[in-house]
């Protein structure tokens, strides 16, 4: 499969539970090696979508392929890793036993498995407590053990469902670092998270889902989708000048002494600065920033926030 190939692809994937439609129309494509964010409010169908991709649920309609195979294909599953939300396992087992069992389920055996277990225990910082039963672990330690089991087979795609849930700031940083390492190894990461800051810091691209439908796609790497927001303060603040700003951008709003507007390209900034100075205006502030993911989220989701 070529490096740029699509590793996850769904078309109009649907899933209902009785009369309730959990996933109405999921259509997405995830490219090999990208860190892909999957965003939406509670009850938007994110976890159900993830289960459909993993073959844990059968779709009620639509089609999908993961690593070129139909959803749930056993061989494809040997090439993926999965960390469920609130990872939980038989709490009588130690982290080492947990990883041994999951490694065996992945088809690993002997010294290869033992070496991989040791590497991962060190990586998720559980080496010192590896033989303690999971029931003695904190929530964060359990989550890190879960992350280790998801990486045992050096997967081509890792599905992470709220991976930083229950983790302290150090644990979150560890997860971010591991995601960056996976990016370096060319692993595709499918990240389902509520923590928009985490997503913004790690993802290349995100898709928003609302009421079980993909409603918007946004690139976070390279050129910003939707342009940039400019905030400027100058004097004197005359209406005629504000009206002329329309040749540089759109959505111009005035709030007391400040002007906010949207520009399509960062290259507009020097032109705008020259124009303001050329008009003999005193420029006190001129800032350009991308729209934050949280702003995107609010703008896309609008008032549709299902309780949950």
């Amino acid at each position: 499969m070529p490096e740029t190939a699509t590793v996850i692809e769904t078309r109009s994937l649907r899933r209902r539970f009785g009369a309730t439609v959990a996933v109405a129309d999921l259509s997405l494509a995830v490219r090999r090696g990208e860190i892909f964010g999957f965003l939406g409010p509670n009850g938007a169908g994110k976890t159900t979508s993830l289960k459909l991709l993993l073959g844990l649920l059968e779709p009620s309609g639509g089609t999908g392929r993961v690593l070129g195979a139909p959803l749930g294909d056993r061989r494809a599953r040997s090439r993926i890793g999965f960390l469920p939300e609130h990872f939980h396992f038989h709490n009588s087992l130690s982290a080492r036993e947990l990883l041994d069992i999951h490694g065996r389920l992945q088809g690993l055996r002997g010294p290869v498995l033992a070496k991989r277990i040791d590497e991962l225990l060190v990586r998720v910082d559980l080496q010192d407590v590896r033989d303690r039963p999971l029931r003695q672990y904190s929530k964060g330690m359990t989550q890190r053990a879960g992350l280790a089991q998801a990486l045992l087979n050096k997967p081509e795609i890792v599905f992470l469902d709220e991976p930083t849930s229950g983790l302290d700031p150090l644990g979150r940083r560890l997860v971010r670092e591991i995601i960056q390492e996976l990016r370096g190894q060319g692993t595709t990461v499918f990240l389902n998270s509520h923590l928009l800051g985490e997503v913004e810091a790690t993802c290349d691209r995100v898709v928003f889902v609302r009421q079980g439908r993909t409603v918007h796609e946004l690139s976070l790497a390279g050129e910003a989708d939707g342009g940039f927001e400019v905030e400027l303060r100058f004097a004197p603040l005359e209406e005629a000048v504000v009206a002329e700003l329309e040749k540089f951008g759109t959505e111009i709003t005035r709030s007391q002494e400040r002007i906010r507007m949207r520009i399509a390209d960062e290259q507009v900034m020097p032109e705008l600065a020259s124009w303001l100075v050329g008009r003999g205006l005193k420029v006190y502030e001129l800032r350009c920033r991308r729209r934050s993911l949280e702003e995107w989220f609010v703008a896309i989701m609008g008032q549709d926030h299902r309780p949950g």
């Binding site: 289960k51 844990l56 056993r74 993926i80 939980h88 069992i101």
Partner: protein, 281 residues
């Protein structure tokens, strides 16, 4: 599929033997053996030994034989209860807690998950049966000198009866919640027990309708019929004909019923595999 099933069996074995249910069953078995041993001791030293000179050998043997059957009956009941309780939470509980999602996302067939669990619990139940039934036989042998004959014929039937319950418990877990499953499987056992009595009463009273109903119930839930067949194997023909034992069956379940016991396990296991294959996790 077998690699996955064996790994699941290993996981189930490791986890189940560390659970409180397994510990409770083990302690319950030991307590039973202690109480039973005490009862046998007093029977031997207070009832049988003082009257040894006056009791005909046949009556003495019959007394000890019935005492052994009582012990094996309780051992059988404990094994059946353990066969229900040990796996009752295994599949439904793991689905509820999310453990199953992690396991089923691995490259293992869902059939392998069910079969692995079934194999592990089958092994555990076999060990448990050997512990309690073997304990009963050894206690009686050690205290009275009576060694229960034909264990080779009876123990596999008792094991098959327990395997019926293990299979039902696992199959129920693929469809129902833990509590619903536990109630349903115990109800199944209770129905089998009552069905056995209806059949026996029907034969004694010459009611073909009662006998027919009892047989149909035994076909639906064969665990009690298998115990009655095991009890028949354990008793010498004379004792059974004298009808002095509460375990004397007037209508001994046939070999065909034993074969159906095996068939019942296979059919139930296949139904469990089919249900779990489609189950939303």
């Amino acid at each position: 599929m077998m690699h996955g099933a064996l790994t699941i069996a290993r996981l189930t074995w490791i986890d189940a033997r560390r659970t409180r249910i397994a510990l409770a069953a083990f302690i319950g078995g030991l307590v039973f053996l202690a109480v039973y041993g005490t009862a046998v001791f007093f029977m031997q030293h207070s009832v049988i030994a003082p009257r040894q000179a006056h009791l005909p050998p046949l009556v003495r043997q019959a007394t000890v034989q019935v005492l052994t059957l009582v012990g094996l009956y309780v051992a059988n009941f404990l094994t059946l209860a353990t066969a229900v309780m040990l796996p009752v939470d295994s599949i439904s509980g793991e689905i509820d807690s999310g453990v199953m999602q992690t396991v089923a996302s691995k490259p293992v067939d869902r059939a392998g998950i069910v079969i692995g669990k079934w194999l592990a619990y089958l092994a555990m139940i076999a060990v448990y049966l050997l512990l309690v039934a073997g304990g009963v036989v050894l206690l009686v042998w050690g205290m009275t000198g009576f060694l229960q004959p034909n264990l080779i014929g009876a123990l596999p039937l008792m094991l098959l009866s327990a395997v019926v319950m293990v299979t039902l418990s696992i199959a129920g877990g693929t469809r129902f919640t833990t509590v619903t499953n536990g109630i349903a499987v115990f109800a199944f056992y209770a129905i089998a027990f009552i069905g056995g009595w209806i059949e026996q009463i029907g034969v004694r009273l010459g009611s073909s309708a009662a006998r027919y109903i009892g047989t149909v119930i035994s076909l639906i839930s064969p665990s009690d019929a298998l115990w009655r067949r095991a009890a028949h194997e354990l008793q010498p023909p004379l004792l059974e004909q004298l009808n002095i034992s509460p375990f004397s069956a007037v209508d001994v379940p046939s070999v065909a019923m034993v074969a159906w016991g095996v068939g019942f396990v296979i059919v139930t296991l296949l139904a469990a595999l089919r249900t779990f294959q489609k189950r939303a996790l």
